[in-house]
C-alpha cells in the first residue's frame, strides 16, 4: 500500500521535474541580446564568443538545445564555470554539504521555536498567551531575515562575544558552532509563518472528538495537550515545515551571505556578481531539486505517520 502510494507520488513528480528543467534551461533565452557576449563581456574575442556558442549549442534550434542540455544533465554534467577553472558540478559538490547542514540546523531550530509558541497559543485561543504569540507573529512577519541576522551578530558576536561574527569554523565542532547564529536567524525568520499554521492545526486537534473523549475519561489538561496536542502537532510540524521548505532554502541563500558561509547561496550571489551564468543556472536547478525531494519525503513521512492518507 505504502509502496503504491510512493510510486504514485513519484509519477506526479515527473512532469514537475521536467518543467523545472525547461524553466532553468530557458532562462538563458531571457537574457537581452546575445547571451554569450553578455556573459563574456565587451572585451571578449569573437573566437571566445563563437566557442561558447558551440559549447552551449546556441546556434541550434531551441528543441535541440534543450535535448543537448538534458542529455548533459543526465550525465551529471552541469557545464563549465566561466570564471573558475572548474566544472559547475564540482563547484556545487564542494559547497552543498554546508548548505544541507545549515538547512537541517535551521529546520530543527525552527521546530524548537515554533512548536512551544504554537502550543502556548493553542491551549486557550483568545487567551493572553495567544494574544502575545499573535502579536509577536505580526511584528515578526515583516522582519527581513538578513536584518535579524545583523541584530544577532551585534548582540551575540560583537557585544557578548559568544560566537564568531562570520565564517564556517574548523572541524565539525567549529562548523556546528558557527552555524548556530545563521540557523537561529533562519528559524526566527520563518517562525511567524510556522506558528500561524501550527496554531490553527493544534486548535483543530484539541477540538477533535478523541480529545473530548480523553477529557471525558478524566485526562488532565496537561496530559491532553502533551499526549494528543503535541503528537498531532509534531505531524503537522513536519508537514508545515515540508510545505515551507522553499522559504527555508531561500533563507539559507540569503543568510549564507550575511555570515560569509561557504555554501551554495553565497556561491550563487558571487556567481551573479561574476556574471558566471552556468554556475547560477546549476545552483538554481539544485535548489529546486532539493525542494522537490523534500516535498516527496514530506508526503512519505506523512503517509507513514498518518495511515489515513495512504488509503485516500
Amino acid at each position: 500500500m505504502l509502496l503504491r502510494y510512493i510510486t504514485r507520488r513519484l509519477v506526479i513528480l515527473v512532469p514537475v521535474v521536467l518543467g523545472v528543467t525547461i524553466l532553468v534551461f530557458f532562462s538563458i533565452h531571457l537574457v537581452p541580446g546575445d547571451p554569450a557576449r553578455s556573459f563574456l563581456g565587451d572585451r571578449a574575442t569573437p573566437a571566445a564568443v563563437a566557442a561558447l556558442h558551440r559549447e552551449w549549442g546556441l546556434n541550434e534550434p531551441i528543441p535541440v538545445q534543450y535535448w543537448l542540455f538534458m542529455s548533459r544533465l543526465l550525465h551529471g554534467n552541469l557545464g563549465q564555470s566561466l570564471f573558475y577553472q572548474s566544472s559547475v558540478a564540482g563547484l556545487i559538490g564542494g559547497r552543498l554539504p554546508v548548505t544541507l547542514l545549515l538547512l537541517l540546523y535551521a529546520a530543527v531550530l525552527s521546530v524548537l521555536i515554533s512548536v512551544p509558541l504554537a502550543m502556548a497559543a493553542a491551549r486557550r485561543p483568545d487567551g493572553i498567551a495567544d494574544h502575545i504569540v499573535r502579536a509577536i507573529g505580526l511584528v515578526g512577519i515583516g522582519m527581513p531575515s538578513f536584518w535579524v541576522g545583523t541584530i544577532l551578530i551585534i548582540i551575540f558576536a560583537l557585544r557578548l562575544h559568544i560566537f564568531a561574527v562570520a565564517g564556517y569554523g574548523n572541524g565539525l565542532v567549529g562548523h556546528l558552532q558557527s552555524l548556530v547564529l545563521p540557523g537561529l536567524t533562519i528559524a526566527i525568520s520563518i517562525a511567524p509563518m510556522l506558528v500561524r499554521s501550527l496554531r490553527a492545526s493544534m486548535i483543530e486537534a484539541l477540538n477533535s472528538d478523541y480529545v473530548a473523549f480523553a477529557k471525558a475519561k478524566g485526562a488532565t489538561a496537561p496530559t491532553v495537550v502533551m499526549r494528543y496536542g503535541l503528537r498531532n502537532a509534531s505531524i503537522s510540524a513536519v508537514t508545515i515545515l515540508g510545505i515551507n521548505i522553499g522559504f527555508l532554502v531561500g533563507g539559507t541563500l540569503v543568510i549564507e551571505n550575511v555570515f560569509a558561509l561557504p555554501g551554495l547561496g553565497s556561491l550563487m550571489v558571487q556567481a551573479i556578481l561574476d556574471r558566471d551564468f552556468p554556475v547560477v543556472q546549476g545552483i538554481t536547478l539544485v535548489f529546486a531539486v532539493i525542494v522537490v525531494v523534500v516535498y516527496l519525503l514530506t508526503d512519505v513521512a506523512y503517509a507513514l505517520l498518518d495511515p489515513r492518507v495512504r488509503l485516500g
Binding site: 515583516g142 527581513p144 531575515s145
Partner: protein, 286 residues
C-alpha cells in the same frame, strides 16, 4: 412599494441613529500605520530636510543631532532623509509589483476553476513547477538574466507570485461554479466570460485581496533583500536594503546604520499584516 412601517417612520419623526458597523481594531490600527508611512513616502520631498544624495562632508558618520535627526552615513548623507526616500522607492515598487501577479493569477485561477479539463491541468501543472523553486532563488535568477532595474523586479515577482492568487481564486471558483446564481446565469444563456467576470470573480476576489496584503509584505522583503545582496535597484537611488548593506561595514562602531532601515520595514509589514487581518475579520463578519 411603501410598506406600513416605512409610512410610520415618515409620519412620526424619529431621530434615527445611523447604523454603524464596528470596524475591527486591527483594521483601524493597520490603516493608520500605513497611511502615515505612505504619506511620509509621498511627501518625502517636503518633509526631508536634505536631498537624498546631498553630502555633508564635515559630518561623516555623525550621531543624531538637531541638524541630522538620525545622524549621517559614511558619505555624510542624512539618514532620516534617505529613510523617507527609501520608503518612496521600496513602497512604490512593492505596490506596483503586487498588481500584475494579482490580475494574472486571478484570471488564470478563474479560468482554470471554471472551465476545468485540460486548461485546468496545464495551468495547475505550471503552478506546481513555479512552486518547486524557492521564492528567492527564482526571483534572483530572473533579475540576474533580465538585468538590473525595477522592470526586472516586476517581471520576476509576477512570474513567481501569480501562483498563490491562481490557487486561491481557483478554489473559490470551484465552489461558486455550482452555486444557484451561477447555474441560473448559465441557463439564461449568459456568456462564460460574463459569468466569470461579473458573477464569479466579484464573489471570490475578497480572499485574494486579503492575501495581497501579506503578499505586499513578501514583495517589500524581496526588494529589500535584493538591495541588500547588491542585486536590486542600482545606487544611488535610496533603498532600505542597500542602506542596510552599506551599514554592514560599520557594525562595530555605528550599528544603527544597518538596523534603523530594518525597523522601517518591520513597521510597514506590521501595518500591512494588521490591515490584512482586519479585512479578513470584516469579510468574515459579512
Amino acid at each position: 412599494m411603501s410598506s406600513p412601517s416605512l409610512t410610520a417612520v415618515a409620519v412620526v419623526p424619529v431621530t434615527r441613529v445611523p447604523v454603524r458597523r464596528r470596524l475591527p481594531p486591527s483594521l483601524i490600527i493597520g490603516l493608520t500605520i500605513l497611511i502615515i508611512i505612505v504619506a511620509a513616502a509621498v511627501f518625502a520631498p517636503l518633509i526631508a530636510p536634505y536631498s537624498p544624495t546631498q553630502q555633508d562632508l564635515t559630518n561623516i558618520l555623525a550621531g543624531p543631532s538637531a541638524k541630522h535627526w538620525l545622524g549621517t552615513d559614511e558619505l555624510g548623507r542624512d539618514i532620516f532623509t534617505r529613510l523617507l526616500y527609501g520608503a518612496r522607492t521600496d513602497l512604490s515598487v512593492a505596490f506596483i509589483a503586487v498588481l500584475s501577479p494579482f490580475v494574472l493569477g486571478t484570471c488564470l485561477g478563474a479560468a482554470a476553476g471554471y472551465f476545468g479539463g485540460w486548461l485546468d491541468s496545464v495551468i495547475m501543472r505550471i503552478a506546481d513547477v513555479v512552486v518547486a523553486f524557492p521564492f528567492y532563488v527564482l526571483v534572483i535568477l530572473l533579475v540576474f538574466v533580465l538585468g538590473p532595474g525595477t522592470r526586472s523586479i516586476y517581471i520576476a515577482i509576477t512570474v513567481v507570485s501569480w501562483v498563490s492568487y491562481a490557487r486561491i481564486v481557483r478554489g473559490g471558483t470551484l465552489v461558486a461554479k455550482n452555486e444557484e446564481y451561477v447555474l441560473s446565469a448559465r441557463v439564461a444563456g449568459i456568456s462564460d466570460r460574463r459569468i466569470i467576470f461579473r458573477h464569479i470573480v466579484p464573489n471570490v476576489i475578497t480572499q485574494a485581496i486579503v492575501f495581497a496584503m501579506s503578499d505586499i509584505v513578501m514583495d517589500i522583503l524581496a526588494i529589500v533583500t535584493l538591495g541588500y545582496l547588491g542585486l536590486g535597484i542600482p545606487p544611488p537611488t535610496p533603498d532600505w536594503g542597500s542602506m542596510m548593506a552599506e551599514g554592514q561595514s560599520f557594525l562595530t562602531t555605528h550599528w544603527e546604520l544597518a538596523t534603523i532601515p530594518g525597523i522601517a520595514v518591520v513597521i510597514t509589514g506590521l501595518g500591512l499584516s494588521l490591515l490584512g487581518d482586519g479585512l479578513a475579520d470584516l469579510l468574515r463578519a459579512e
